[in-house]
Amino acid sequence: MSDVPDIINELRAEERQGLLNGGSGGLCHQIETSNTVLQRGINKNVILRSELLSSLLKNIPDSIYFKDKDGRFIEVSDAKIQHLNTDRESILGKTDFDFYSQKEAEKMCIDEKYVMERGEVIQKEEKITRPNGEIAWVSVVKTPRHDNQGNVVGIIGISRDVTNQKKYEIALHESEEKYRTIFENSAIAIMTTDEHENILSWNSYTEKLLGLNREDLFMKPVHTLYPPTEWEKIRAQDIRQKGMQHHLETKIIKKNDKLIDVDISLSVLKNHEGKVIGSIGVISDITENKIKDEKLKEAQQILIMVNKALEEKVKERTKEIENLLKQKDEFIYQLGHDLKTPLTPLNSLLPVVRKKEQNEESKKYLDLAIKNVEYMKNLVQKTLKLASLNSTSFKLDLEVINCWQIIENVIGNMSSMLDGKNIEIKNLVKKDTFIKVDKLRFEELIDNMINNAVKFSYDEGKIEIKSETEHNIIKFSIADNGCGISKEESEKIFDEFYKADKSRHDVNSSGLGLSICKKIVEKHDGHIWAESAGLGKGSTFYFTFRITENEGKK
């Protein structure tokens, strides 16, 4: 048997010896001394080839292995030794089953049997699990080995690690797949052109958007998709110089020459040398946006019109209401005056008749009549007062007055009218308090406020009138220790015709006194309100007036 590996083995042994003897020259010398001169030429050639093989096995990064018929390793390259993670001696004479998993080894065994049986070369890429558990991609070539008679005696395997290359390939494939998916599934049209501006590729949405198919698009000049004026606009952007252009609004020609509004973003495609090889366009349909814009504008227009109409209507209505209010005031005013004349004989004559009347029963009836006439007179007067305060022509007759003095006068005039109650009224306003007001209205205000306090006081009552000045506001307070008011009531008592107790048919109350007070105060730009700790705990009425620096104290 003259197997090559055997020769190599022998040579290796000799080589090692030669190295020990001091240099590579030693090997040649020994061979020369042990062989005939005839053999020298042949031997020289064999040596050269052996050297080459030996160096190859040592330095090549691929795994190279020689196996006998039974799959036993006869010779391996250093790379193979490394991959099997052991030393040469431990490999020789062993099979794949000693190093790889059963499954892996069987796979290899099948391939090798095939090679040996058929005498054919196998070349394939496969994924293997190395003895150390590492998964690797390898490119394997397995060839049959023959002896001198041409019998198959084993195989030679060369396996190259292509894991990294494979990784890149996979990554590239995945990345391409990803982009292809995006490209294909985008709901926007994407189109590429070559350097001559012919359409090269596009995604399916492009066909959908344009209503065109492959025949209509492939290698067609891209400008045929645009109306000439629009194409000029695109060309004017000078994309191939600038590199890219975003959001160019233009029109594109659809199937049947229909135009649609689109937004185009264009980029130039360059090769690795920087040469322009085409361009890519991203086209989105903005027809609907445009329609929406139009509709929005339309809706806005309508809204503006509706608004205007509404404003007009509101103005109209406001005017109507103002007119109605004016009419109401005029009506009340007229009614008031019309009632005054017929009241005159009643009001004047009844007391005279009452004076002359002797019959006690008639006197009682006359008293009743007089009382009700008084009430009516009061009601008419108050109503007219309120109406005149409400009227647009009402004007304040302002003058500077001494508040303390006015309040004193009002109290003086009413002492006889305290409802027969024993009520103490204290004017605690400072004597030098001056304000600029309509004197008559102010008197009326004070009169109404005190009357109100008296009305809701118990038989033994106490009323205190005070004032305090803060900045440019003077605040008056009229406090009583009477029956008080609830919180809900305190908000209503200033309403027209509000009566604290509706069931009570109070002939002394018109229900307008506090409304008049409120009007008077408001006409002076002041505020009026009531506070009470609750029913039975008295109440305090407040009202304010604005004062200038010269007023208040003089």
Binding site: H337, K340, T341, T344, S348, L349, S388, K395
Partner: protein, 127 residues
Amino acid sequence: MKKTILLVDDNPDITLTIKGLLEGEREDFKVVIAESGEECLELLNKDILPDAILLDIMLPGIDGLETSECIRKNDKFSKIPILFITARNDQFIMEQGRFLGDDFIEKPFEIDDVIIRIERAIEKLAS
């Protein structure tokens, strides 16, 4: 000597009331009635010169204010005190009334108050 009061009002209920009350309360008062401004001026021109005139403002024909203007223009009776009687208390009318008349009585009135005002006006003229 009785004092003559010329009462100008178109409402017979009012004239009856005032005449009755004034003459009833004061024996020295004599009330003469005119139902319009025109009638009032007619009486004055007939030399029936009263001591005081009670003049309603809202009158048919020429109203009270106009009537008072005519009275003031005639020297023969321009000095006679005029007391306006009215149901209206509009600011404008009140101002006009105060300006042209000597006093202003608002309906409904207390008869005592009317008497006081009449006397005051007559006294003022005499002094």
